[in-house]
């Protein structure tokens, strides 16, 4: 597709004479000057008014403005490092950040995707077999029960899970999920802090944690089960937004040291570096035997594992195993299987 053919008016045939009887001509004539901020206030007002109504001139304006924005880019000049902290501090002072809202919306986004996927299910589909939770209805009941755990900890209502398999499982899940998101947006839980103590789900008994992590986990689990459902019906796996992938990975890396201890697989004094590529990826150095809960540390590592970020998130969900995750290892070969095994046990199935 040749862009210029889609932009009527982008030609050399245009008059350079100001012609106020023809608003397009007048505006197009001034558009170059306008795009470099070289018009007077009356002209700017006239052009802005016309651009709000005229898509053709609007497209041309956007093109010229975009070109102008690169004029200075031949000389990039990073500001002094101290400016970053000043800018962010002033921004937060002018308008308070709302991370609770962000994490709630990330979770709501995954809920919407799962709900959409459930739209296409027929009555008979609910009994379709699902390897981990017997059938599709069982999968949804499992998810609902874990959502209910957080609802309980936030003093929000808990929905009873229907005993019989069927579309009722969807209604219950959706109501429970909405109670959580609405409660956190504007309801009784909206004033809560992300440091509030709640329980996190695990394969075994729930473990104590913070709301910050629980919300990441709810979105993570909702995504995982969306893809479980997709697997049953032969659909393409989904990929969460990069920032959500990043949150999942940050949480997993923080949980790893304690999980190694719980599995009796601590390696005191040693550390692993995990380098994950692709959107949402990054680098983490995880102490393998420290008693510190912090999880992320700098310094030398005994082993480096490289993999794809989303694939590693799937490993954490136990949807990949150390054997099926594509990865490379440098350094101590014996440590990598231990780290990957424990990482694959962090989720709740």
């Amino acid at each position: 597709v040749i862009g210029s053919e889609q932009r009527p008016g982008n030609g050399a045939d245009m008059s350079t004479q100001a012609d106020t009887s023809n608003p397009h001509g007048d505006v197009l004539d001034l558009l170059g000057a306008w795009a470099v901020g070289a018009c007077d206030d009356d002209e700017i007002a006239r052009i802005d008014r016309h651009l709000r109504e005229c898509e053709r001139c609007g497209a041309q304006a956007a093109r010229l403005t975009a070109a102008a924005s690169w004029l200075g880019a031949d000389q990039l000049r990073p500001p002094p490092e101290s400016l970053r902290a000043r800018v962010l501090a002033q921004a937060r002072e002018r308008r308070a950040p709302a991370p609770l809202r962000t994490l709630t919306e990330a979770y709501a986004g995954q809920i919407a995707l799962l709900d959409q996927a459930l739209d296409s299910l027929g009555p008979e589909d609910w009994q379709r077999q699902e390897p981990r939770h017997r059938d599709v209805a069982g999968l949804l009941a499992h998810l609902t029960a874990n959502d209910a755990l957080l609802a309980t900890d936030l003093d929000l209502p808990v929905i009873a899970i229907p005993g019989h398999a069927g579309p009722g499982a969807r209604t219950a899940w959706r109501r429970q999920a909405q109670i959580l998101t609405n409660g956190l947006r504007t309801g009784p839980a909206a004033a809560t802090t992300l440091d509030r103590r709640v329980r996190l789900t695990t394969k075994r008994a729930p473990r104590p944690g913070r709301l910050r992590d629980a919300l990441v986990q709810r979105a993570f689990e909702t995504w995982t089960h969306l893809d479980d459902l997709g697997a049953v019906f032969g659909r393409v796996p989904s990929v969460p937004p990069p920032e959500q992938v990043r949150r999942i990975l940050d949480l997993a890396m923080r949980l790893l040291p304690a999980a190694l201890r719980e599995h009796g697989l601590s390696r005191p004094g040693r550390a692993g570096r995990i380098v994950l590529s692709g959107a949402g990826g990054g680098e983490w150095t995880v102490p393998l035997g420290s008693t510190a809960d912090a999880g992320i540390a700098g310094g030398a590592a005994d082993v480096t594992i490289e993999a794809d970020a989303v694939e590693f998130a799937r490993l954490v969900a136990n949807r990949r195993s150390p054997g099926t995750l594509r990865h490379t290892v440098r350094g101590d070969d014996a440590l990598a299987p231990v780290i990957l095994h424990v990482a694959s046990q962090l989720g709740c199935d």
Binding site: A38, P78, R84
Partner: protein, 185 residues
């Protein structure tokens, strides 16, 4: 042209109050915003003020940016340019500005502390490929903060010619940047 997907997501996160999103935008574009402010104001303190204003404004009023109208980068630069020009229009008297004309249109040298990325080199080539007459007009207006009438006066050309040179310069710069994949068609 479809809105940039990264921009759309960042925009939503900014509206939701996610300050990590602001940090991401800053890390990505602060060099462009600050570099532009430095070129126009030639003043370290002013350039930092402009940079701060631009990103704080985005945080305070994220809905003022519309991803359907152009990229976030382009919007930030537009804002940085407007504020920088406001500064110099207020600060510099006309007589002094005449003296500065030569500096503004001298595009051969690269200042100290400047990063030349691959992309920057491509942009530089595209800018330098413009006909001298168009380049002088566009640099005088964009970096010198002149109106097209002042450009006409300083270059001794009719106002209509100044307007058409500005438009021709940007249009052929857009052509070149599109051909290089820096601007989307």
């Amino acid at each position: 042209v479809l809105p940039d997907e990264d921009d759309v997501r960042l925009h939503e996160r900014l509206i939701a109050g996610d300050d990590d999103a602001l940090a991401e935008v800053y890390d990505r574009w602060a060099g462009h915003v600050h570099g532009l402010a430095m070129r126009v104001t030639a003043d370290h303190a002013l350039a930092e003020d402009v940079t701060q204003d631009v990103f704080v404004h985005l945080w305070e009023r994220p809905e003022a940016f519309d991803p359907r109208q152009g990229t976030l980068r382009s919007w930030l630069c537009m804002l940085a340019h407007r504020r920088s020009v406001d500064h110099i229009r207020r600060r510099i008297a006309r007589s002094q500005r005449q003296v500065l004309s030569a500096d503004v249109t001298d595009h051969s040298g690269v200042d100290e502390g400047v990063i030349l990325e691959t992309e920057a080199k491509v942009v530089r080539e595209a800018v330098r490929a413009l006909p001298e007459a168009q380049l002088d007009a566009v640099l005088l207006a964009y970096f010198g903060g002149r109106t097209y009438r002042e450009v006409a006066q300083e270059l001794g050309i009719p106002e209509g010619t100044a307007k058409s040179r500005l438009r021709a310069a940007l249009s052929s710069l857009a052509d070149r940047l599109e051909a290089q994949g820096i601007l989307e068609r």
